[in-house]
């Protein structure tokens, strides 16, 4: 099997057209790969480009140059140049993403938010819900919240819904953007265990964790994003 994720010579900048077209370089010449069963953690100071890298991998941010190669259904797909339809298919079957904050959809119950990634893959609704229930109880989300839309939930409750949604599928690649930031110690430990289980299953994970304890517990390798900083390149 091919390496699940290979990032090669990726460049990213933002051009701010509303501010006289100034160009904000974010990362230059990013190179790394993530093997199956490995958890790589992106490190470096705030604003260095960690989240931007995850978003490029997920197709959420455009890429100026370079390749993001993903092993998708036994073919290599370059996310940097893939059409929207392909990216949606990659998200559906190969690559999951837990964002820092849940984007709530009006009127959809928490348990359905969690079950949805399975349902759109064709899993029967009742089975998907059972899996969702299992994850939500594991993450200690009070049962009486399951049938409510998460828009009124606390930050930590929303985040647990978000984590459950990201972990419910058996995607081969999982991107995690500070999933434990708003959780208490008990639930942080649950997430650490869930990440360990994904590793066992051979999932390739790339994450951002500010919490040192969590990082120590999950990281096989820490990749310092400062190494890709264009500012550093200028200073040198």
């Amino acid at each position: 099997m091919a390496t699940p994720l290979v990032v090669s010579e990726v460049f990213k900048s933002f051009t701010m057209h509303l501010r006289d077209g100034i160009k904000l370089p974010v990362v230059n010449d990013v190179n790394f790969s993530v093997a199956a069963g490995e958890c790589v953690v992106l490190g470096g100071p705030s604003g260095i480009g960690k989240s931007s890298i995850l978003k490029m991998l997920y197709g959420n941010y455009a890429v100026d140059a370079g390749q993001i190669l993903v092993d998708h259904k036994d073919k290599i797909v370059d996310i940097a140049n893939a059409d929207p339809r392909t990216i949606i298919d990659v998200r559906r079957h190969t690559m999951g993403y837990v964002s820092q904050f849940l984007r709530t959809v009006p009127r959809v119950a928490a348990i359905d938010v969690v079950a949805e990634p399975l349902v759109i893959r064709g899993v029967e609704a009742s089975v998907a819900k059972e899996n969702a229930a299992e994850l939500l109880s594991r993450l200690n989300l009070p049962r009486e919240l399951w049938s409510l839309p998460p828009s009124t939930f606390s930050g930590g409750e929303q985040q647990r819904v978000n984590i459950a949604r990201g972990f419910i599928t058996s995607h081969r690649i999982l991107l995690l953007d500070e999933p434990t930031a708003s959780l208490d110690a008990t639930n942080r430990r649950v997430v650490v265990e869930m990440i360990a289980a994904k590793k066992e299953e051979g999932v390739a994970m790339l994450g951002i964790f500010h919490d040192e304890e969590v990082r120590e517990a999950v990281a096989d390798r820490i990749l310092d994003v400062s190494a890709f900083s264009p500012r550093k390149a200028i200073a040198a």
Binding site: H17, Y61, P84, R85, V105, P106, R107, V119
Partner: protein, 258 residues
Amino acid sequence: MTDTPLLKVSGVSKFYGSRIGCKDVNFELWPGEVLAIVGESGSGKTTLLNCISTRLLPTAGSVEYRMRDGNFRDLYHMSEADRRFLMRTDWGFVHQNPADGLRMAVSAGANVGERLMAVGDRHYGKIRETATDWLGRVEISADRIDDQPRAFSGGMRQRLQIARNLVTGPRLVFMDEPTGGLDVSVQARLLDLVRGLVNDLGLAAIVVTHDLAVARLLSHRMMVMKDGHVIEHGLTDRVLDDPREPYTQLLVSSILQV
């Protein structure tokens, strides 16, 4: 992932005299895909939607549609009768103003049943049963089936229009500002409903909206129009979170958060 698109739009332009309606639009739409067309007032969204759905004849370009037999037909070279049949059976068109898409003087049940009769359903009991079922799916209670839509609220009318359009199991639905005239809480309910139906039925849809939150919620892919031209086109969350074009950045920055 199927490998054949449902719709191929090539070089579609529409001029009103010397004024540009839309200019040189190209894209393909696949089964199950929802495309949002966004842009400010007068940018050509409705013109484009009407050209694609053959409600308007473009000045140039072609639109090909994959029929149920698998063959592509050029929509502008079809007979009027074939085109009407297609629109009644395989397509839906949801208007911003429900009065444009409903018959206001016949009952809710008949509004839905009529479309079934157009595809050859003749059994009265079955038609009524299907109509009741569809009213339920759009959250209109069964005891309103004999009421005329003029007795309905704006949100109910819009839901009825959606039921009328979806009852024949279309493969492609066009929507022009489906939540336009509704107040915010009613909009949320309608959007949630449309989102669920589109997912469940695996419909392809083209949704015109000036509301980026609607585009975010409903669509996979998004086209931004300005002065009749498509200026940016891509995955919906990419266009909204990392807009490339100056005009798209302006659009995205002028709303609070989508």
